[in-house]
Amino acid sequence: MKKKLIHLFLFERRKGRKLFLVMKLSLFLILISLVSASASVYSQSVRIDMELHDASLESVFQSIQDQTEFDVFYKNEHLPRYKKVDAVYAKATVEHVLDDVLVGTGLKYRVFNKDIVITKDNSGNGSDQESQQKTVRGVITDLDGMPLPGVTIVVKGTTNGTVTNLDGQYSLPGVPADAVLQFSFVGMQTQEIEVGTQTEVNVTMLADAINVDEVVVVGYGTLEKKEVTSSITTVKSKDLIPGGSGNPLIGMQGKVTGLSIQSTNGTSPNATTSVQLRGVASVLAGQGPLIVIDGVPGGSLNSVSREDIESIDVLKDASAGAIYGTRAAGGVILITTKSAKAGKIRLTYTSEFTTETIRRKPEVLSAEEFVANDLGTDYGSSTDWYDEVTVDNPFSQRHHINLSGGSETSRIYATFLKSDQEGIAIGDKREEMGGRINANFTLIDGFAEIIAHADYRKTNSDRSHNGIFDMALKLNPTQPAYDDTQVHGYNVWTGGWEYYNPVADIYLRTDQGHSTNFLGDVTLKLNLTDNLSTQAMIAHRANEYRDVLYYSAQHKESLDNARAGRARQAYGRNMDKTFEWLAKYINTFGDHSINAVAGYSFQEFNADGFDMTNYDFPVDGIEAWDMGKGTFLSEGKAGMGSWKDPRERLIAFFGRANYTFREKYILSVSGRYEGSSKFYTDNQWGFFPAVSAGWRIGDEAFMSNLDFVSDLKLRGGYGVTGNQSFAPGAATRMYASDTWWLVDDEWIYTYGSAHNQNKDLQWEEKKEFNVGVDFGFFDNKLTGKFDLYDRKVDKMIYDISVSVPPAVHDKTTMNVGSLRNKGWEAEVNYNAVSSANWDYSTTFRISHNKSTLESLWGSQTYWDRVGFPAPGSPGNAVRLFPGQDIGKFYVWRFAGFTDEGNWMLYDKDGNAFDVTQQTKTNDDKAFVGNAIPKVQMSWNNTVSFRNFELEAFFTSWLGHDIFNTIDMYYGLPNVEEQNVLADAFDKNKDVTGEKELCDYWIEDGDFIKLKALTLRYRFETRNINWLQNANVYVTGRDLFTITSYSGMDPESNINGLDPGFEWHNNIYPRTRTWTLGVQLTF
């Protein structure tokens, strides 16, 4: 749970030289304005000595502070610049001293408890102005229209002020006509508004672009941003790009340096995401970061929608992630969902409507060109197959309704979500329905708290597949897609497995996925003392899925096999349970403060399922819903199976302590001792330590001359994280069933080795150094950070090809070697303009990563990967070789074409040869190109003018290469009865040889892309009682790309060990998407 501590810069005080003292409660201000003359027992009893000559007022205040427990607050600009005093006192009261030195300065003082506040004395301004004073009222809300309690409102230049109540309302008497009201709130931009004749001033507070007092969520707790000593990036919900499928990760693309988020399948509503932090680390299933939702580790993003997210904190370096131990090697993403604020019940309704258009598609020959080039039979039609397999203007909508509110002791946040999405591929749809309830209860005067979250999500998908785009590329364009003489109207042809009508394929089958996701957790927290709390959490995650597949009796597959239909139903589920116990201790002793946590974690994972397949049904219309009626069941040819995975457990003990001295020197240590049932007995437990430190050098005395520096922190850390993402069982020798065998006239099932056992399997370990600097200049108008990291991934876990024997199977899950990632990341934010009508802020991010393979296992000297698919056997295009960077291609080098159109390649000595005259060998291959960008950049710009806001988000990658397999497989003219790219009869028209796996197909991938453009308009709602907020927005994504790359998308896959290939047979269309959104708060 993230808890917002309310802080306020109140006044400056001098302690040492220049230190902002942050007061703990904004209420303080009101109190001092209400208590006009407070008597302080302490001030009367304490006595001071002083001997200052020709001294500034500051030094007098300093002297008071040094001798007493008083803190003195004042605003620098209020002090007369050249005023010098002689202050010589012995055993004087503080009042006495102040009364003397403030004479003639126009300042007065008030004493409140142990604070002394120096303010301007406006009492002598005359009674005529007094008579014009009035009371100003209003409501303060945030961008979403939610009322903001606790906002401070002060008449500028005075101490006259108040704060808003729980409904965001305020009422401030005694405001002069020419007054300027200042509205301030932690994490928000302070606004100044001239009152004039108004008696009602309503304000919408805007969040600060960056604020050093932000609270950052870290492993098992929160820290103030200034206390953070490792690399953590916080993304607020408002920073997520709207539109699209609502997947929060896609909305975060490019917003976190070093975090590569890529869709697995373009804009398909059924796509998932692949995530990689700071280059390739754990390459097996666990390459993505650990996702922790409201403290429950191992969550799925299916359990949270964008609108419900309060913040996303990305723990990038190992010193931050180590407390999550075995699963943090890929980084940790902490998602905090919103919780209700006390107050009136608010209803927020968000609606988004999305459509998309194709941005780029492979240009193949038209029917006329196909015939003209004599590529095959002319069937007389003219079919644009790509057009046939895509939907014109697919329409998607999302609706999100949220209710939130309650009292201080019981607050409820409830959400209902419904979405209907349609992809650009025919037959690609997704329907989603879900809800979330977040509840907070406080019992026994705050001694006990109960915090509960429950999220339920149900999705129904109609699945398409990318084979249709491969067909759209290569099908003869003179073939018709439709045929009126066939009962269903599609042109279905039989015979051959290489070509089919993709339109008929999709519409003559049903491929549905149904799934439900539940994530629920409840925490009981006991605040034992002001400083010590303990809490226990139980969480349950259940994911169930159901696949229903039916191929019609009219489908090509049925006709080819002379059977009436095929049906399959499958069911599976994953059940995780989590128990965690924590104790937290937070305290401050003088200059020392401590924030510590210790705990225990238990997680268990179970999965099981079954499936069945039957064929040849009496009627077509019932599809897969009467499974038993297919004739294959009675003939013994139907399929049936069930499975249950081994039980998996993760158990851990962990702790973290942050220590801060004088708010300048920060030290953090953490450790996690964790065991996993997936390893062999001797290797189950591991320890993951981390240490990091920070120095807020900007607050040091010697920096005081640099006035432009508002904040400057140096930090560095080291940590170890692990990875254990592989299927359970790898460390155990297992027998599994194979198939029938005849023994003594009876058929029995044979049993043998299920997989290669690896007793020696150990944690993958990532050891990472990270140093960084955080800065804020010019009153934090310009802020940013820079990080440098160097990490080594040891004992990388992977399923690799092994020698058989000694292994039984050709793949073993092994610790395969070590990788090193080095890189840097920088981010700069600038709030360039902030005026009454105009605002402009901009953020620029840039990062660089290089991953190098350092070693492989045992005596292995290389490891070949990426076998190119049929047709043909072109070979492997990647060789992992110690010392080489990840992202190199290992292919032959193109040397030209012979006059006959044969390929020429270079041999290992650099001599060109004709491949028909000399056999190419693997030794002739070379490491070429680089799939990993030298730099990845993004640039965000937000401009607002009155009620309009425009956000433009650009991304750019430079210095990477892409292997264009679309060109390779469809760019040559040497085919028959198959369509090809226009290139085949243009730049490749004279090529006669079969494609060669060489750098001819590798292209420069540099690009700049307008990733998102959002225009928003906020309606004036202050005069409408029932409406708190209303805004509309239009977002366009991927609007334009500037690149020389000839394939589909230069934003290629850069995750994993084999980055940089754009595959010909698996590419979802690249689109521009347009979203219209409406948001209303009642």
């Binding site: 198939t739 080795s753 047709p871 028959e976």
Partner: protein, 547 residues
């Protein structure tokens, strides 16, 4: 909550559900057999598919021509036909992997059975020895086939240890020899009347040893034909079990071939069990199921290489090849396949118009809606008058197939739907006595005893003709290396051995056939170590000529 933590605080025990650990597996005799035959199910997969392709698609009897838009497959089929395969070609990798995985599986089970006290499952020490020797024989078989494809292999005697380099050809040869010599006396002998259902007996192990000696010249450059002859004679004499030639040509291949006295080793097959069905998709036309009166489509890929030019003339330019016309007229097998009901059938080919009592196959491509008629020619007849002026100008190459191109082999018989329980009833024969006769015949031929050789071959041939009237028997006069190869080719057409026979007679890289010109590159007698294998074990050394 406290209870919850108390129970499971640090318990990391793994719990298993749908698979078992070997320690708890062996409870009954049946469990022992389930484990014993795991590597046999691998062998059953191994003898078909890619190993078959490597033996046949690189030789002179079969081809997968490109048929219009179908089967070009990136030039893969050309590469095998023209002997231009690469270290990345898939069949080669699967054959390497399959050979050594077979060894590993058998070693794995062998180790478990060695450690098992057979008395706890009610079996004897003799049973144990016999089981272990079956596994040892199987290991020898995988090494034997691997040696044939690749030469020397890494020799493992257990699954302990590291990646090891390849042993020499000779060491591998001797390893196989010693495994078999040890196994033979400990294996059971087949008694008369016993069915063959896949277990390994003395006869099979002896035949493997004969195969090893038979090809010793190709494998290690040493002639061991006399050793081969001794063993073959021993098998024929019944020293290794009771076997006999089947009186009919189809007995060893038919629905009930598990009862044939000729079969020495086979992989069992039965409808819906372990179907010997992989050829179906590749050999038959999209609509051949109609001709058979069955269901299930096919892919229309493989067929016999043509015996005739597009004009109809029989090829005389080369001595190999012409597989269909190598069958004498009057050979009972050289007839269209027809199922006669009751498990009886005639003929071994799909040839001519595809009209049967059960149905008619129509074209779906170039011959759309015309009756399919398989021809013993490869040419694009439908392009006459368009791209080509007349039939005489038609080329006949791997690129010139059509949907009716080439004669199709029906080695495993097909019933019609009414007798569907017989479907896939024929077991996949791996070794049969006829092979032993032919090996012995070839040994005699090489030893200069042509008459004895001819007699042995004629003993087999006689069943192929009506009342034994062989129009063209083998004689001492007409038996030479090409006649010997023709006899191998006719009797064992499509049984996955052709490449080995051509290599033994030095024809594989030195002779021409149909669309194939001799490369004269000796290194092509062996396949390269596939790149995937090198990648998995860098200690392996590549075969000469492939670097």
């Amino acid at each position: 909550m406290l209870l919850f933590t108390g129970v499971a605080c640090t318990d990391l025990e793994e719990e298993w559900y749908s698979a078992v650990v070997p320690e708890t597996f062996f409870k009954t005799e049946q469990d022992v057999k389930a484990a014993l035959y795991r590597s046999f199910t691998h062998a059953r997969w191994y003898v078909q598919e890619d190993r078959w392709q490597l033996q046949e698609m690189t030789a002179d009897q079969f081809a997968i021509t490109t048929k219009g838009p179908h089967w070009y497959n990136g030039g893969e089929n050309y590469r095998y036909h023209y002997h231009q395969w690469t270290v990345n070609d898939g069949w080669i990798w699967q054959s390497w992997r399959g050979s050594l995985m077979g060894v590993a599986l058998a070693l794995d089970t062998k180790q478990d059975l060695e450690n098992l006290d057979y008395s706890t499952v009610g079996l004897t020490e003799e049973d144990k020895a016999s089981h272990l020797m079956q596994l040892q024989t199987l290991i020898a078989y995988f090494y034997l086939r691997g040696l044939d494809f690749f030469g020397g292999l890494p020799i493992f005697t257990s699954n302990e240890g590291e990646n090891i380099p390849r042993s020499t050809d000779k060491e591998t040869f001797e390893h196989i020899e010693s495994l078999l010599l040890e196994a033979i006396p400990q294996l059971p002998k087949k008694a008369a009347g016993e069915k063959e259902e896949g277990a390994l007996r003395q006869g099979a192990a002896a035949a493997m040893l004969a195969q090893l000696y038979f090809n010793a010249e190709s494998y290690i450059g040493e002639s061991r034909f006399s050793d081969c002859a001794t063993i073959c004679q021993g098998i024929i004499n019944g020293e290794y079990g009771d076997y006999d030639l089947d009186p009919t040509w189809f007995g060893a291949l038919g629905f009930y071939n598990n009862e044939s006295p000729e079969v020495i080793w086979s992989a069992p097959s039965e409808f819906n069990k372990l179907q010997y069905d992989w050829m179906w998709n590749r050999f038959y036309h999209y609509e051949t199921y109609k001709y058979f009166g069955l269901d299930g489509g096919a892919w229309n890929g493989h067929h016999l290489q043509p015996s005739r030019k597009p004009t109809g003339e029989i090829y005389t330019e080369f001595k190999l090849g012409n597989p269909y016309e190598k069958f004498d007229d009057g050979d009972l097998r050289k007839k269209p396949y027809v199922y006669l009901g009751g498990g009886r059938y005639e003929g071994m080919f799909l040839v001519g118009d595809q009209i049967s009592p059960y149905g008619t196959s129509y074209g779906t491509q170039e011959y759309k809606d015309e009756v399919i008629s398989f021809v013993d020619m490869v040419a694009t007849f439908k392009k006459v008058g368009d791209e080509y002026p007349d039939i005489a100008s038609l080329p006949s190459t791997m690129a010139d197939g059509e949907e009716n191109t080439g004669i199709r082999l029906v080695k495993a018989p097909m019933p019609n739907l009414a007798d569907e329980s017989l479907r896939w009833g024929a077991d996949n024969v791996i070794i049969r006595l006829a092979e032993v006769y032919y090996m012995l015949a070839e040994c005699k031929l090489r030893a200069g005893d042509e008459a004895a050789a001819a007699d042995l071959i004629n003993d087999v041939r006689v069943r192929n003709f009506e009342e034994g009237n062989d129009p063209n028997p083998v004689t001492a006069a007409n038996l030479d290396e090409y006649r010997m190869l023709d006899e191998w080719g006719v009797e064992f057409l499509g049984e996955g051995r052709r490449r080995t026979d051509l290599i033994r007679w030095n024809k594989f890289v030195n002779d021409d056939w149909w669309d194939h010109e001799a490369s004269n590159s000796e290194h092509l007698r062996r396949f390269p170590v596939p790149q995937d294998a090198l990648s998995g074990n860098n200690a392996l050394e590549q075969n000469p000529g492939y670097n």
